[in-house]
Amino acid sequence: MTLTLTNIAKTFPGGVQALLPTDLEIAKGEIVSLLGPSGCGKSTLLRMIAGLETPDAGAKIVFDGEDVTRQSVETRKIGMVFQSYALFPNMSVRGNIGYGLKMQKLPKTEIEARVNEVIALCRLDGYADRAITALSGGQRQRVALARAMAPRPRVLLLDEPLSALDAALRSQLRDELALLLRQFGITAIFVTHDQNEAMAIADRVAVMSLGEVAQIGTPEALYRNPATGFVARFVGDAMPLEGRIEGDRLHLPGGILPLPGPARGSEVLVRAEDIRLDPQGPITARVETVTFLGTHYRIALSGASDTLLIALHSGLSAPQQGENVRLSIAPEALLILPKGVAA
């Protein structure tokens, strides 16, 4: 199903603008992630697509050419996985998964068959007649997904589906979820605040900030060509280099850094993996901490910029804490982005 959102916005009673007017188009079978910090409007946008919130006047939500803006949630034929899963404690696993099919008034035998099919797909065999309270967090998450998928929804909406799990389980289930969604071949929208989740699962990521979409694109495009400083910071943890720009030179507290070209009025950012320890480098800095992380060292550096810079250094040895080092950054690795854009 293709999903077209036009001019969709949300103002809460009291005047708080949770979402500024937004347009979004999602292709059939595409998995799109809404990524952003809490309060950026991503959940509100998802809930409006679901029909759980009403958008401001003038919005249009179209599923495959059908305008569903005025339809209530129960008639939209969406599937939703909630942050807390919202599994019904009064029903078994089977009862939960079959509930949407029961609402469609399908014959009992067909419900049975389709429930079994989804149970097998989500690897819940043997758990069908268990109580919800007897399941682990990961199993609950799969039941929630199975329940949302069983009625064959037009679009699957997932609201932070991994955030209720502990860290180790989260990264394991992340890959599992990505695989399952691809197997279902469904159009899906996935809300998260975790960039790794978004990048692992989504075909395209919409980075949101302060109630609007800052940039939308493939994970790679966002990483390589962030449109704003916010996107660069949020996707890939870019750090600002704060100094004075003169022509194609950036004057930092630790030295003068060549830029790829004149960059007046721009903001310059760099990623940790692009900062190199280089005895011939133009910048001096002081090593504050060194953390050994197995494949590389993580080095916190002061004096180069106004704030601490983090460098990732691979090699057999690292400088000592308190040592002064020289750094270089390749001009083409710098992110030169327009300054002063809020998002």
Partner: protein, 262 residues
């Protein structure tokens, strides 16, 4: 000194138990002895209980009937209302909850006076058992609403309902599929409270009843005033036999509902 200060709480507890229990035992014994003034030596008998059943079975049955009717009405009025209050936890809901709880605070006598002045001249209603029923519903309804409300407040009702709605369930389906089953512990505790309180209700009923419609407690008051002590005791014994299991079931159900809420 130290052992004395340790013993005082125990003594107070035992004295309080004795104070509450001794008259209960007395009434049980009096209801079962041939002649209370001659004591147990006069022998045990069930004739007083039989006499009570002969004299007052109408009152007892009327009380059971009203208690069950009261349960049905409080379920119909109370459970959906508790749900609506749980879904709209605003100021207006608090005020409404406080208002329907007034019968807990205002003495039954005053409520009965209020009902009598408004509906006392409505003959068909005034002389029917439904008039007593109204009083009982008024008094027990807040217990049902609060019992259900506290359970509903403890579960994340809104998200569960959103889950059901996303699967295609409309408001009424959600109420019967999600709300009622998950509120069952509260409904059970509320139901037992309603029946227990209805069977024992006297203050309102005494004012609302007619000579042809006497409930169990009204009959009790009657027997205390006009019957010999053995009959009054036997009647009290019959009441205990009905109310004590109900009270215990009610306490068990309330404790269970509270456990589930945690």
């Amino acid at each position: 000194m130290k052992s004395l200060s340790k013993a005082i709480p125990l003594i107070v507890t035992l004295l309080a138990c004795a104070f509450l229990l001794i008259p209960i035992i007395q009434s049980v014994l009096a209801g079962l002895t041939v002649n209370y003034f001659r004591g147990l030596s006069s022998g045990l008998t069930l004739k007083w209980v039989a006499r009570v059943l002969e004299l007052y079975s109408g009152s007892i049955l009327l009380s059971i009937w009203i208690a069950l009717a009261c349960l049905v009405v409080t379920l119909i009025l109370g459970v959906p209302a508790a749900y609506a209050l749980a879904r709209n936890p605003g100021r207006a809901s608090r005020v409404l909850e406080e208002f329907i709880s007034l019968p807990l605070a205002i003495p039954g006598l005053a409520l009965a006076l209020a009902l009598l002045q408004l509906y006392g001249t409505l003959q068909g209603f005034r002389t029917s058992w439904t008039f007593i029923l109204v009083g009982h519903v008024l008094y027990t309804l807040p217990f049902m609403v609060r019992s259900v409300l506290s359970v509903l407040a403890a579960i994340d009702l809104k998200v569960l309902e959103e889950g059901a709605a996303s699967l295609g369930a409309g408001p009424a389906r959600r109420f019967f599929d999600i709300v009622v089953p998950n509120a069952l512990p509260g409904i059970l505790a509320g139901a037992l409270t309603v029946v227990t309180l209805s069977i024992g209700e006297f203050n309102l009923t005494w004012m609302l009843h007619t000579p042809y419609l006497k409930t169990l407690p009204v009959g009790l008051a009657d027997s205390y005033a006009s019957m010999r002590l053995e009959v009054a005791s036997a009647y009290t014994l019959v009441f205990f036999v009905m109310i004590v299991p109900l009270l215990m079931a009610m306490q068990w159900a309330s404790a269970r509902a509270q456990r589930i809420m945690q």
